[in-house]
Symmetry: C2
Subunit: 434 residues, 2 copies
Amino acid sequence: MNVVSLIRKKRDGKALTIDEIGFLVNGYVEGKVTDYQFAAFLMAAYLRGLNKWETSALTSVMLFSGKVLDLSSIEGFKIDKHSTGGVGDKTSLILAPIAAAAGVKVPMISGRGLGHTGGTLDKLESIPGFRTDLDLDEFISVVNSCGTVLIGQTKDIAPADKLIYALRDVTATVESIPLITGSIMSKKLAAGIDGLVLDVKTGSGAFMKSLDDSIALAKSLIDTAKSFNKKVMAYITDMNQPLGNYIGNFLEVYESVKVLQGEEVEDLKSLSVTLSGAMIYLGDKAESVEEGIEISKELIKNGKAFDKFVEITKAQSGDVKYLHNPESYPKSKHHETIYAEKDGYLKSVDTYEIGMAALELGAGRQTLHDKIDFKAGLIFYPKIGDKINMGDKLVELFTDKEDKIESAKQMITGVLEFTDKKVENPALIKKVLD
Amino acid sequence: MNVVSLIRKKRDGKALTIDEIGFLVNGYVEGKVTDYQFAAFLMAAYLRGLNKWETSALTSVMLFSGKVLDLSSIEGFKIDKHSTGGVGDKTSLILAPIAAAAGVKVPMISGRGLGHTGGTLDKLESIPGFRTDLDLDEFISVVNSCGTVLIGQTKDIAPADKLIYALRDVTATVESIPLITGSIMSKKLAAGIDGLVLDVKTGSGAFMKSLDDSIALAKSLIDTAKSFNKKVMAYITDMNQPLGNYIGNFLEVYESVKVLQGEEVEDLKSLSVTLSGAMIYLGDKAESVEEGIEISKELIKNGKAFDKFVEITKAQSGDVKYLHNPESYPKSKHHETIYAEKDGYLKSVDTYEIGMAALELGAGRQTLHDKIDFKAGLIFYPKIGDKINMGDKLVELFTDKEDKIESAKQMITGVLEFTDKKVENPALIKKVLD
């Protein structure tokens, strides 16, 4: 096989075989295929596409570029959830304890936040002491004892993805459905799961802005999961406004604790129990997703879900006092509030900018080396369609960076659109695919 | 400006400005744009195309990446010819002396052979002592005294092209009309010419196999030349069989000398005087191309064209005894002949393979570092449509490499197709564009 002829084949719109994809991807990981040749291949793949067999082959090659966890010593159905990322999306913190409390095994491998989206790992690490860097033995032992564990991707898992992603990032080849699919699925499958629930976000705060693209991505992820014989469901969910109200790392832990303790944060609770319901159903602990949702709600009501969250936190060395008493968490130096300047209905929000405002306040990172301020962030109160009266509290900002307050306020107020006419709040769940 | 956003812009099919192309190309030459980013850009440009303004901008940026010769001290209209390369194409050796003898100035910058095509520089250097590495002062002095000069590309000329070509070669982005246009025109324009005659080959021995692609390339070259205010004409000419009969470096000098001395080598002479006729016309030394052709034929008949070739060879330090007496040139150790095994008409030739057979015998190079045997090559007698009788001499082979004779013979006989029915010899000139 010859690298140039394989690039040419994809450039001309022909499908590559699994052997040919293996030759390119493994060659790149081993340094035999140069970065400029792989970049040309990525652009050809971006523009010509990969069919579902090629995507599955890409996933497989990336998956086996590293370690595939052997979770055979964990009894029961092992399921994870993956979200394509959004603003205020803290459902993992809520659904993992629920699903585990329902008896399915949830070995969850999460990522860090970058740009406008937060990451589950950073949120968990805002709980002092919480360790996300468990080794395989600890990982298995926590799943066996608690039913769930929340860790980060180790460098043994799908190393090809890390290398390829870094190259895609600097060659304008990120937003490709087959390449995104390979990246997501190689990491998820490496965790040795039996099933997967997907939350594909759509809208102004999502990577996929259009519903069509989100559906195409969901289908590609489902096809690939099925080609590996996994049980899978996908929800296309709204990201035209933040999920819940709290944005920022410990702020999101705080809101998750409130939901686990029974507080009605409508959209966040609704999505969390839907996704956990699907996990419980795929894990054969319910006859239907609806029954899974009922079970989830009951596990919140009877306190078992919150207890499970406390149990996991303890097992992963986190300080549980901040779960029992979140108010005792350190506070930001500055606290500012944005009030409505006139009456109206909230019509739209550029959610990407809201995420970027939280980042500006210290809650996120621009590059992987930036340090996060766990206390920082904002509380975003209004939902699209809400009637707002002049003087209503719209957003609260928390930061140690006094010099960023003004720019963050402007970013937020600049992307809120109001109208005199009543508007509908967009449906949270746009579509379910399986 | 940001590299990734420019790659993305081209990826999404949008046109780049001249500033943006300059930022990318100059950035690449200066090492500020990485090779993997430039490779991604090249593939995006390959698949999305560049419009004529972008192509002109690319040419301009590549042109000004190096030295642009100042030929203002040379009086008269300065014109060059460019061929896209073929097998047996030695028209430069014939038309440069003709056009110079007619009074136009021909500062010709030529290339070396690679793969199945020969290069004018190698052919000239097969004349012992012939120097193609003149410096600018010598270059100008030879044009002033002889009316023409034949040199190689110096490293000062369009250095961006050399770098970019090397990257295209390993990233499957060679066969792109706008990228080919930028490469050709940046080098040609750097020679400070006023006009250009283009010979765009089409057929089995050409880089562009289809007539449509050849026409598209010719149009792109013409548009670009005109955007630089140059006089230009393009001929689309047949390369479905070798041009003339001799293939190999000194063998081609030998055939050129024969044509300059009045021998009727039909296709070769016809194309050479057509192209020189166009050069004479564009250089205002004739009222029409037809008159230019008549002038060319007359300059052959009265011996002035051959005398000019002798004069140039002397001026560039070549040993003219081999022009006056080509038979005295050293001979290859081995001489083999292929005879027709039955009667029939020659229907087709895979000319690429004929070029590769000559290379096999020592006449060409696979990589730029290979050494050429100037004596080696072949004489290819039949033309498509010729009536062949069993026992007719088809091809003579000349080589020092005894072990390559058999494979070269097989390469040749394997690509000659005969038929019982009469077939037409393809038209030599397919189309003229200006």
